[in-house]
């Protein structure tokens, strides 16, 4: 741990680095937004969208791993082999995928239940993230206003600095 431990505000990134979507957007719309973000070269890791309600309150997030998981649940179920399914265009799979794509992201998001404060020490944020396997941790000012995001990458960079001082 560094001698003078940093606060979360010093390592968090701007929330506008991530795409924002309302909870009623469909999985297809969010996938399209993430694709554009990836192709535009602006996509951060994890490739995720932040999900908000009508009053711009953060509800949670959804990343491409989640989307892959849901697509996999439709296409890779049962005893069918992965390569067969990915090459398949059977009507049932197509129908299921179409249904899945039109569902709202509210059905899939990871709810945001844990938050950091900008003045928290980084070690506290790290503990929350590592203890709960969170890829991102929202930072709320006065327990209300979303002001930033801490990712595993920031935590890694901060904590792994100790390797190079040892």
């Amino acid at each position: 741990m560094p001698d003078q431990e940093k606060q979360v505000r010093e390592i968090m990134i701007d929330v506008f680095e991530f795409p924002h979507v309302p909870y009623w957007f469909t999985l297809r719309q969010v996938s399209g937004i993430l694709k554009k973000s990836i192709h535009g070269g602006k996509c951060l890791r994890p490739a995720a969208a932040l999900i908000f309600d009508e009053k711009y309150n953060l509800l949670g997030h959804l990343d491409i791993q989640d989307i892959l998981q849901y697509i996999g649940n439709v296409t890779l179920s049962g005893e069918k082999a992965r390569q067969d399914i990915l090459a398949s265009s059977d009507a049932e799979t197509t129908h299921l995928l179409s249904e899945l794509s039109e569902k709202p992201v509210s059905s899939f998001l990871h709810p945001s239940r844990l938050f950091a404060d900008p003045e928290d020490l980084v070690s506290k944020a790290a503990e929350l993230m590592l203890g709960n396997s969170l890829p991102i941790l929202p930072v709320l000012e006065n327990q209300k206003k979303l002001v930033g995001i801490v990712r595993s990458i920031e935590i890694f960079e901060y904590l792994s600095a100790a390797f190079f001082r040892a």
Partner: protein, 245 residues
């Protein structure tokens, strides 16, 4: 008379300069199409730095008062429209004029990314964050107008905190953010309402309603795209044409 910058004034220098220059345009001291003094001249006239002049001029350009022409200079914009032009009359003004009991319910005031062709309608890159407003206008306890507005987030981020139930969006844009709407393009058609829209407007899904799409500009810059669904029996459009002699 040359108004001078007051360095004891808590207002930022560029804001003071902006107000002075805007006043000159609005009072007609600087005529439409006329070239304004150069950056150096403005620095000398108001005893401010180039950075201050640039910030004030950029803001006036953004809000449609000025137009920069590469290699020629900066000109007072042709598109400045006199106050009170009927095309910019807000819903609130219309209702106050009609003396009816009305209210606005803000159903959404949030941020989203453009999907479908919204980036084209707003003329923005597709990875720009957009403020989304959804408002239901109610007159005599009856919902009559469902309005969805989209604005690039970066032009007025504080709009997310503004009270849009008590205040007109157009007034807030003009008075608080100094975004002066100078042109509106309108497209009117009849369109069936969806299930959600019908629920909000008290209409059966599929019922025809008036769909008004509007693109708002400040100078050459597009500021807002609005999609309004109106109960057809509650609206009448009035268009007046006059030949200029």
């Amino acid at each position: 008379m040359t108004v001078i910058i007051d360095r004891d004034n808590p207002k930022k220098l560029y804001v003071q300069l902006l107000e002075i220059l805007k006043g000159k345009i609005e009072r007609g001291e600087w005529a439409v199409d006329s070239q304004i003094p150069t950056e150096d001249d403005l620095c000398k006239m108001y005893e401010v730095s180039k950075a201050t002049v640039r910030q004030a001029v950029a803001e006036l350009e953004r809000t449609g008062y000025l137009l920069k022409q590469q290699g020629r200079g900066t000109f007072v914009c042709k598109r400045v429209i006199p106050e009170g032009l009927s095309m910019l009359t807000s819903f609130r003004e219309l209702m106050l004029e009609a003396k009816v009991v009305f209210s606005t319910r803000v159903l959404a005031q949030t941020v989203l990314m453009p999907t479908d062709d919204l980036d084209l309608k707003l003329n923005i890159p597709e990875d720009i964050h957009v403020i989304y407003l959804k408002r239901l206008r109610v007159v005599d306890d009856e919902p009559i107008l469902l309005q969805e507005s989209y604005l690039p987030y970066h032009i007025c981020p504080q709009l997310l905190q503004d009270d849009l139930e008590q205040n007109s969006l157009l007034e807030i844009l003009e008075n608080k953010y100094q975004i002066r709407i100078t042109k509106v393009q309108e497209f009117i058609e009849v369109a069936p309402v969806s299930g959600d829209e019908g629920n909000l407007l008290g209409l059966q899904p599929g019922t025809p309603a008036l769909l008004l799409e509007q693109r708002f500009f400040a100078g050459t810059r597009e500021i807002m795209y609005t999609r309004s669904l109106k109960r057809p029996e509650r609206f009448r459009f009035f268009i007046e044409r006059e030949r200029k002699t």
